[in-house]
Amino acid sequence: MDGDSAHSMEAEREMTRLWRTFRTVYELLADRGYEVSDNELVLPLEDFRAKYADPLGYPDRTKMKIQARPTDTMKMKYTPLPSKANPNPQPDCGTIYVDFCPDSSGVGTKQVRAFNHLVDENNFHTGIFITQTPISPSAVRLLSGVPGRICEHFQEQDLLVNITRHELVPKHVLLSPEEKGKLLERYRLKESQLPRIQISDPVARYLGLRRGQVVKIIRKSETAGRYASYRWVI
């Protein structure tokens, strides 16, 4: 009996951890501008357990697949400015697909290949691959090397808490190409003259920023109330 209760404790622990990760994923999707319903955002633990637990009480990751479509505001932000060569630009975003990898160790090229194949086959624009352990360096390369698609990777423990909800993390807002143009015009800048933010920055990764975009960072200021700065993603 003792072993049984230890088992269920362990299962309960893993379930709770995964539930938190799962919720952060929905918050991430909402923050990026995908269509997410309100009850998905505040999914209680009981509902999560009822939906995704296997008979032993452990979470069943193969069931946890998420798809979301971008909202119109997001589409607007990802539409490049019309140019002579491209007078009618299309938004550079589309359906996102999130997959939780069930393997508890040794995630390498095999799993990533399967994931890439899935993303390609179903014609998803973006894919997020979530694993329990770090993935091998060649798997990282393989993941980023899908032509025409964006594949990202997170570890479950990276998403255990939502970093953007921390009080020391300022609000990051992505600017649309139009807003970016206005900003550069107003301050008479070239984009290379802006301060920069790395693409590997945790918040940049959370928001899925791409090279060349500009984010507005709004901080609290004791003297001015709010203080905005802008960063160019490199």
Partner: protein, 320 residues
């Protein structure tokens, strides 16, 4: 692609191997812009010159080469995961085909890439040595793994007594199926070149001439028989041609002393002594009348003498 490659690649240098790989692939998407395109680009930019554009293009090409090389390495890793071709292969005596394929594939690798290959193979539940079909060792010592004692053979301790003991972390043991395979795999690792493939030069043979452990041992066993007698040593010394000028030039090239091999290289400095003037003997200075009172110093006349001048005596030198 890999099957027609090896025989060709082993004979040639690395950049040529690389060019051969590129030739087999579809044309790249980053074709070099034509002169017209370059001119068109420059038209809209008054500050830029053709030279700027060329520098930028050269750097872009370098970066693209680097990316391509990394892609090649990734593909090679994926190919090597499938080795050995038969599940009953013996790692000590691999099939000729597999050995050639391994050597060919490892040519652009750096040791870190090789480590990635080992990691990938372990993830696939295979021994880290690419020619071994067995599973890697797995010992369950609790969740943290930790360290293990490894005892050497009898008589391997200090002074030939007892046994040597090593403390090895568990993940290092678990990479391989056996110690023999570990030795084989690490023997290959030390032969790889640290230099990334896009920086290697044509003459760089490191990484292209990889020997398997078994081959290297067979070579070493054969070698001592040939150099046993004194006469053969003398012959060898003579064949090295220590006094030979051409040979010493080659040696200088190896040392990186390129000035010997190219005395009239790019920087052709010709020192010639100036003959004029060096034969004249300078005359000793002579006293002139105006020197008696000192005159002016670059047009300035010291005050004491200026008083004298006001008396009516005009110093000609001051007027000049």
């Amino acid at each position: 692609m890999a099957h027609q490659g090896p025989s060709h690649a082993l004979k040639t240098s690395l950049p040529e191997t690389y060019a051969a790989i590129n030739a087999q692939r579809p044309p790249p998407s980053y074709l070099y812009p034509t002169q017209e395109e370059q001119d068109k680009y420059l038209e809209g930019r008054p500050g830029a010159t053709q030279q700027h554009l060329e520098v930028a293009l050269e750097h872009a090409q370098q970066i693209q080469t680097q990316k391509d090389a990394e892609d090649v390495i990734l593909n090679r890793i994926l190919e090597l995961l499938e080795l050995p071709s038969s599940p009953t292969a013996d790692p000590a005596a691999p099939s000729q085909e597999d050995a050639v394929k391994l050597k060919y594939s490892l040519a652009p690798f750096r040791p870190s890439d090789y480590d990635n290959l080992i990691l990938e193979r372990n993830f696939e539940d295979l021994c880290g040595y690419a020619l071994c079909p067995h599973k890697h060792r797995k010992q369950d010592n609790g969740p943290r793994g930790g360290f293990q004692f490894k005892y050497g053979p009898k008589g391997s301790g200090p002074g030939g007594r007892g046994r040597s003991v090593e403390i090895v972390s568990q993940d290092r043991i678990e990479k391989w199926c056996s110690d023999a395979c570990a030795e084989r795999a690490l023997w290959i690792r030390v032969q790889l070149s640290e230099k990334p493939v896009w920086e290697r030069r044509a003459g760089d043979t490191r990484g292209t001439s990889i020997l398997l452990l078994e081959e290297a041992r067979a070579k070493r066993l054969k070698a001592p028989a040939a150099t046993s007698s004194i006469s053969s040593v003398v012959d060898d010394l003579q064949s090295m041609g220590l006094g030979n000028r051409n040979r010493s030039r080659e040696l200088a090239l190896e040392r990186g002393d390129t000035s010997l091999i190219r005395p009239d290289g790019r920087v052709n400095v010709d020192i010639r002594e100036n003959q004029r003037g060096s034969q004249q003997v300078a005359a000793a200075p002579q006293m002139r009348p105006e020197d008696a009172r000192g005159g002016s110093i670059e047009g300035y006349v010291p005050r004491e003498r200026r008083d004298v001048d006001q008396d009516g005596d005009i110093d000609l030198l001051d007027r000049i």
